[in-house]
């Protein structure tokens, strides 16, 4: 039985590791479908963003109530992971509460006792916060969780994660409750933990009615349930909006540091314009053999940070709920832009791995996922960028697609084309003679 459990555990952890690593590699290669962009300058400023925005959740506090609930789940998640470490060590060695025994050995039993009680307290907070979030989503129906892009899967995903977390936390409490019954009966292999308040109150009385054999089974099942649940959850999140718990740290590190109003330059255009104007190019560059597409039509035209943004998106809808276009009923929703980029990156990545058509599948991000109408509705106001709790930049994607529409497709609206030709001929977006530009001083 003992050895069997260890073997089983090795199989489980190996399988989890295999799927997890495979999935991480895939996401990484999907992100790398994007063009190069340098986001490694000013490391100290970048770390500051990670500390404030990812660790400190600074942007979440624009909405204090969800921020508090969210931070409870977040701290619970971080701290309870220490217990998962003990679970894994126990699983690998076939022991029970290995850290506890070790602490007892060095005379720090009380520390373990306090630690376990803290875990339970956090577990309760996580359960309450998740319940509250479920109510917000499903009963109070907070508006930003709805919208055209919140189709059945994103909706289900949001609820599943919360339910998952509640079940995992209940498993911990059940396990501890049964464990304490076994301790009180001096069953071998169940070392003293001291009294654990929440599990004792909730489950001790219930399990103490049952025979020892049954309680051992309950404890073991809860243990396995919890650890399998954690492993399953780890794989699940890589397919879910919940991936932000990992990617938020990377995404805040690589976020844009320049003023939000600054658009990226297009050096390939600069070279050509300099040639047209006859300005000597100070740093002559080799002409790239393949002229890249101007602007973005598909995933590989975007830069890798745009795709990382898409995988980091939590689908919280804070961007969309601040978007002036969306607020006034236009088709644009910045959250949808992010979700579309992720879906398209997944689709292409999957196809390329299968040896399929990849980018040649006759589809593209613009057209099959995102419509022109959405792209044209944006006022470049940066409200979405400002609102995002994990420093995602939907505007960058929108503007790159506009470049494609204007320069490759020439499909800008007629009024924009007139504006372009006014600037070309009159050096102003309106039809006024350039020689009249200074007339205001004489009027």
């Amino acid at each position: 039985m003992f050895v069997l459990q260890i073997i089983l555990f090795f199989i489980v952890i190996g399988t989890t590791g295999y799927f997890l690593i495979r999935r991480i590699r895939r996401i990484r290669s999907n992100i790398r479908l994007g063009r190069k962009i340098d986001r490694k300058d000013h490391p100290s400023k970048r770390w500051k963003n990670v500390l404030l925005v990812a660790f400190g959740q600074k942007k979440m506090f624009k909405k204090p109530i969800p921020a508090l609930l969210h931070i409870m789940i977040y701290i619970g998640f971080l701290v309870i992971n220490i217990e998962v470490l003990e679970f894994i060590l126990d699983g690998l060695t076939g022991s029970h509460r290995i850290i506890g025994q070790w602490l007892q050995g060095i005379g720090a039993f009380e520390f373990y006792h306090i630690l376990m009680n803290t875990f339970e307290f956090l577990a309760i907070l996580v359960i309450l916060s998740c319940l509250f979030f479920l109510i917000r989503r499903n009963v109070l129906k907070v508006q930003r969780f709805t919208g055209e892009e919140m189709t059945s899967w994103p909706k289900l995903d949001g609820n599943l994660i919360l339910i998952f977390e509640i079940i995992l936390m209940i498993a911990i409490l059940k396990m501890n409750g049964a464990d304490q019954v076994l301790q009180s009966r001096n069953v071998e292999g169940y070392p003293e933990t001291g009294s654990l308040f929440f599990s004792k109150t909730l489950f001790f009385g219930f399990y103490s009615k049952y025979q020892t054999d049954f309680v051992v089974v309950v404890e073991r099942v809860a243990w396995w349930f919890h650890i399998l649940g954690i492993f399953g959850f780890a794989i699940y999140i890589t397919y879910s909006k919940h991936l932000h718990i990992v990617l938020a740290f990377f995404n805040t590190y690589f976020a844009k540091l320049e003023p939000a109003g600054k658009m990226d330059n297009m050096p390939e255009v600069t070279n050509e314009v300099k040639m047209m104007l006859g300005i000597a190019n100070e740093t002559p560059q080799e002409q790239p053999t393949e002229i890249p597409r101007l602007g973005a039509k598909d995933i590989n035209d975007l830069h890798w940070k745009n795709i990382m943004d898409a995988y980091t998106c939590t689908e919280c809808g804070r961007c969309t709920s601040e978007c002036p276009a969306n607020l006034t009923g236009k088709k644009l929703s910045p959250r949808k832009i992010m979700m579309d980029v992720r879906d398209r990156a997944e689709e292409i990545g999957e196809s390329l791995r299968r040896g399929g058509k990849g980018f040649e599948d006759g589809k593209s991000l613009l057209g099959d996922f995102i419509s022109k109408e959405e792209i044209l509705a944006c006022t470049s106001c940066n409200a979405c960028v400002e609102a995002c709790p994990v420093l995602i930049d939907p505007l960058s994607i929108i503007l790159q697609i506009r470049r494609y529409m204007a320069m490759e497709e020439s499909s800008s609206p007629q009024s924009w084309n007139s504006m372009f030709s006014n600037i070309e001929t009159n050096f102003a977006p309106w039809k006024f003679a350039p020689s009249d530009r200074f007339n205001w001083s004489k009027e």
């Binding site: 624009k62 003023p259 939000a260 109003g261 600054k262 658009m263 330059n265 297009m266 255009v269 600069t270 047209m276 104007l277 300005i279 101007l294 602007g295 601040e322 002036p324 276009a325 607020l327 006034t328 009923g329 236009k330 088709k331 109408e373 044209l376 509705a377 944006c378 006022t379 470049s380 106001c381 940066n382 409200a383 960028v385 400002e386 503007l399 506009r402 470049r403 494609y404 529409m405 204007a406 320069m407 800008s412 609206p413 009024s415 924009w416 504006m419 372009f420 600037i423 102003a428 977006p429 309106w430 006024f432 350039p434 020689s435 009249d436 530009r437 200074f438 007339n439 205001w440 001083s441």
Partner: protein, 265 residues
Amino acid sequence: MNKDLNKVRTMADFAEKGESPEVLFWVGCAGSFDDRYKRVTKAFVKILNHLNIQFAVLGTEESCTGDPARRAGNEFLFQMQAMNNIQILNSYHIKKIVTACPHCFNIIKNEYPELGGNYEVLHHSVFIQQLIDDGKLKPSDNNAFKGVKITYHDSCYLGRANNIYQAPRRLLESLDADLVEMKRCRTKGLCCGAGGAQMFKEPEKGKKDINIERTEEALETGAKTIASACPFCMTMLTDGVKNKEKEEEIKVLDLAEIIAKAENL
């Protein structure tokens, strides 16, 4: 004192006389051609002259910064415009630029350096606020806006784009005006609807126009003066007020006009 408050000299004029101004006033297309915004240009000129600041404009040598072209996706046209402007600015050895347009401000400050144009660029709200801070401009205690309810509309290209939220407000506070905020303000300020080249096209299909939504928020504050700091916001909000048939009672004024009026210029 009978100095001419409307006096404007071009950069060419300065160069010819071998002089150089303290600052170049970048007027912008709206400031040059839009009838309403020309009044803002002139108000700012009066402030500059009033404070004896040596300034120049490019006059007919100025041309569109390329902002609407770039935001609409036409990078070629933008870069053509930018390079031409940079050539002129650099040929005059311009160091410091002030402008009353947040779009010109953003693009010259943030996007010209990569193309070879490096200048100290200030938006007029920051420029005026600095003058007040330095004690050069002292609004009188009995100015026309003392105690008057004013609401300030954040321009996206000043606020979120460049983190300028304080200067325009400090400027209004220095007049002892009764500054009231709209429901959405500062980082959450609602766009007027004209940015990103929307000024130059019809809005996409929707339930409502953005400027109407924003005007309603401004009217809710009960302020009779809406302060703006951007030519596009000015147009959008003025249209919004007209749409609500409130143009008799509600005035949309630029910060420069407010200061000029407070100073009786």
